[in-house]
Symmetry: C2
Subunit: 183 residues, 2 copies
């Protein structure tokens, strides 16, 4: 399960609380290929502690709620390493918009085009979001490994969005040429 291993990956860099994992780790970096819900992070941390991959201690605070700080254990590091070296099978992807399009034969061309235009806007926003993440150009021979890898994951996100948008545009053009349904 990737959530477990993403958490292990973050905790392998430094001890963190559930709150920090949510707001500073997941939401800021991996959310576009592995979004994580707050409730699930807390639940998963509990499960991971029972498996002894992490340990937690409470940091008391007077003016704010106490924090429960999680550290990775050696067991957790071994598990992370094992998983990182394991070949991943293809992940099942689902795309509701394609379900919609596939069954849209009775919709009018303009309705189909309007739905395609809407998807184009959404994917455009997504792409724009990726492009606004400042990733400076780097020299391959001196770039830190983690920066390189973060850059590569973001690059895939951008490519997929661009390919999707191109496909939408092509599909819109083709739909314009399609004989319409009768009223």
């Amino acid at each position: 399960m990737s959530l477990v291993h993403a958490i292990l990956g973050f905790l392998n860099r430094q001890p963190l609380t559930g709150y920090e994992l949510k707001t500073q780790c997941f939401d800021q970096s991996v959310s576009y290929f592995w979004p994580a819900d707050q409730a699930q992070i807390y639940k998963t941390l509990e499960k991971m502690e029972s498996e002894q991959w992490v340990e937690s201690q409470i940091k008391f605070q007077n003016d704010r709620p106490n924090r429960r700080l999680y550290c990775i254990t050696t067991g957790g590091q071994n598990e992370l390493r094992r998983w990182l070296e394991t070949r991943q099978p293809l992940h099942v992807q689902r795309e509701p918009f394609l379900v919609q399009l596939y069954f849209s034969e009775d919709l009018k061309n303009n309705t189909i085009i309007e739905l395609l235009e809407h998807q184009k806007i959404l994917h455009g926003k997504q792409l724009h979001g990726y492009e606004s993440i400042g990733m400076p150009a780097f020299n391959l021979h001196i770039v830190p490994r983690d920066v390189f890898l973060a850059n590569r994951t973001l690059n895939l996100g951008k490519r997929m969005e661009k390919a999707y948008i191109e496909w939408i545009e092509e599909t819109i053009n083709m739909t314009h040429q399609l004989p319409d349904v009768e009223e």
Copy 2:
């Protein structure tokens, strides 16, 4: 929920049993953007019947198990139409391989490359599977709408796989040039 609407889409063309939906509809056409599990199809059909979107009757057979044939109702047709005309939000996509890559900074270059090569094989097979689905060239002005739409969904699948594979190749090349971790 797209499974419900995919089933409505199929039943809108003709009455079908759960078994036929699984083996002749989902597995043969939409599985690459909406795979459906047998157990879930049966569960969902039950739920859809309680919502009165479909009706079922049992067809008795002597030599084989009886069949429960489902028909779409007018309520089901209205729901399908409503959904088909509704703008879909972006669907959350998760990609375990990117989680893996993102945290692979301590792996040796060769290990990372080996994992990338494996993904390339998997995506190559996927692409090959799409390409082996015979979709003849068609004339936009006379093509049946359902054929056009099926063709377009498949086209997106191919594009995404091609873009993914290109990204893998580029990433492999770059990783070759990356200074390695120390042993």
